[in-house]
């Protein structure tokens, strides 16, 4: 099965109203080529699940600045003033989630769990509307799973089976999101033949990766 696809093929995947996850921490580890393909698809009313909304012109930021997003679920929006502006103007729904809780919710979504119990946020506004469960005398919040229709990942290297290796701090949310979406697309800097990546070095197994987009073209 050939997993490698072109930017045009990537663009054709997106539909209005989709829920999309994207890896990255302030743009580091965000697949900029896939974000650009999504912009070219001119879809709207997207629900975006990301750690942060990065910057106006980089990371997933351009999706916000171009008005493609109706709801964002993130831990931090402070570096992209457009997110805050749209939120205050009532154009964008923002759900702020503690970063560790966001990671756990994505994990739950990807690993068949009904949620996680975390002490993070107890006694703060984060607990509003959530079930509190006491375990051995300590209070926890029940945080529910997050899943998406499409996950957009960035890895350093893939083999043609989709086995992935990430580079430095660009790993962040990418391996978690590989488990938590119906369709997983990865942007890589290089693609090698099957067998060229030592199985011991694989960080995300290829069975989770549906499509590979090679930045700068391929093969």
């Amino acid at each position: 099965m050939d997993k490698i696809i072109s930017k045009e093929e990537v663009s054709s995947i997106f539909k209005d109203g989709m829920t999309i996850m994207a890896g990255g921490f302030m743009g580091v580890g965000t697949p900029q080529g896939l974000v650009s393909a999504m912009l070219e698809a001119e879809v709207k009313d997207i629900t975006l699940i990301v750690n942060d909304t990065a910057f106006i012109e980089s990371g997933v930021g351009p999706l916000i600045s171009n008005g493609r997003v109706k709801k964002v679920i993130a831990s931090h929006i402070g570096t992209n003033p457009e997110t805050g502006r749209q939120m205050i103007a009532g154009e964008l729904d923002v759900e702020l989630v503690p970063q560790g809780t966001l990671a756990e919710r994505v994990r739950a979504g990807g690993s068949g769990l009904g949620g996680v119990l975390t002490p993070t946020g107890v006694g703060t506004v984060v607990e509003e509307g959530k079930e509190k469960i006491t375990v051995d005398g300590r209070e926890f919040l029940l945080e529910k799973p997050l899943r998406a229709e499409v996950a957009l990942l960035k890895a350093y290297k893939a083999d043609k089976a989709g086995n992935l290796i990430y580079h430095r701090s660009a790993r962040n949310f990418n391996p978690l999101m590989a488990l938590a979406a119906d369709l997983v697309i990865v942007q890589v800097e290089q693609v090698v033949e099957i067998g060229e990546i030592d199985p011991d070095e694989v960080m995300t197994p290829g069975i989770l990766v549906d499509k590979i987009f090679v930045q700068g073209g391929c093969c």
Partner: protein, 218 residues
């Protein structure tokens, strides 16, 4: 007295540095807390954890690698012996009690050890990022902040007014005027910074506090 005059932030960072033990795993918030390592004595080496996914955070040395940034998104390095991991593992370390000390800034702290540092309703809503997990999970939470806000009002309150980052989470408050420990019986003034008298601290602190034996005996 030291020969070079330290500014308020340096006084705070230098005092926080004294809380670190050799080998501690430490997470530093953005801004003032990042100044702490430069005040560590030569025999104290700490291992810095960066919440975007590694331990062994170091200052930028040499070329910028666009894939290697600190939790503020700034170019950084990884020191020998460091390790990268994903965000899930990063917060397992943080929430699971594997980080010895976290140092964060504060907008308000109160007598019960509540901390507010992530939003000002109607003005500034950047999001909590990793702060709520850090104050919940780190073994020791140090708030490093200037004693008063820009308008001169106390940031150490009887009760926080801003939305909380964590409830009853703070262990130590270090300002340019004083050091307070949070105890079950409320705040205890542990130290006065060099050249600061008790009256100044009393005037600039809204919260009530006990005074440690060491200060009373001086």
């Amino acid at each position: 007295m030291v020969s070079t005059q330290l500014n308020s932030k340096q006084i705070i960072a230098a005092r926080v540095a004294k809380e670190m033990k050799d080998g501690d795993v430490v997470n530093l918030g953005i801004g003032l807390p990042t100044m702490v390592p430069s005040f560590l004595p030569p025999n104290v080496n700490v291992i810095l954890q960066s919440e975007n996914g590694y331990i062994g955070l170091g200052p930028l040395d040499g070329e910028v690698d666009p894939d290697l940034v600190n939790a503020g998104g700034q170019p950084a390095s990884i020191l020998p012996g460091g390790a990268f991991f994903d965000s899930l593992f990063s917060f397992e370390l943080i929430r699971g009690g594997h980080v010895d000390v976290t140092v964060l800034g504060g907008l308000e702290v109160d007598a019960e050890g509540n901390l507010a540092n992530w939003m000002v309703p109607g003005k500034m809503i950047p999001g909590m990022g990793g702060a709520m997990d850090l104050v919940t999970g780190a073994k020791k939470v140090i708030v490093a902040m200037e004693h008063t806000a820009k308008n001169g009002s106390s940031k150490i309150l009887e009760e926080c007014r801003l939305p909380l980052t964590g409830k009853g989470v703070v262990d130590l408050i270090v300002t340019e005027l004083a050091v307070f420990r949070v105890t079950d019986e409320g705040l205890v003034l542990e130290e006065l910074q060099d050249g600061i008298d008790l009256k100044t601290v009393e005037e600039k602190t809204e919260a009530s506090f006990k005074i440690s034996q060491a200060i009373l005996e001086n």
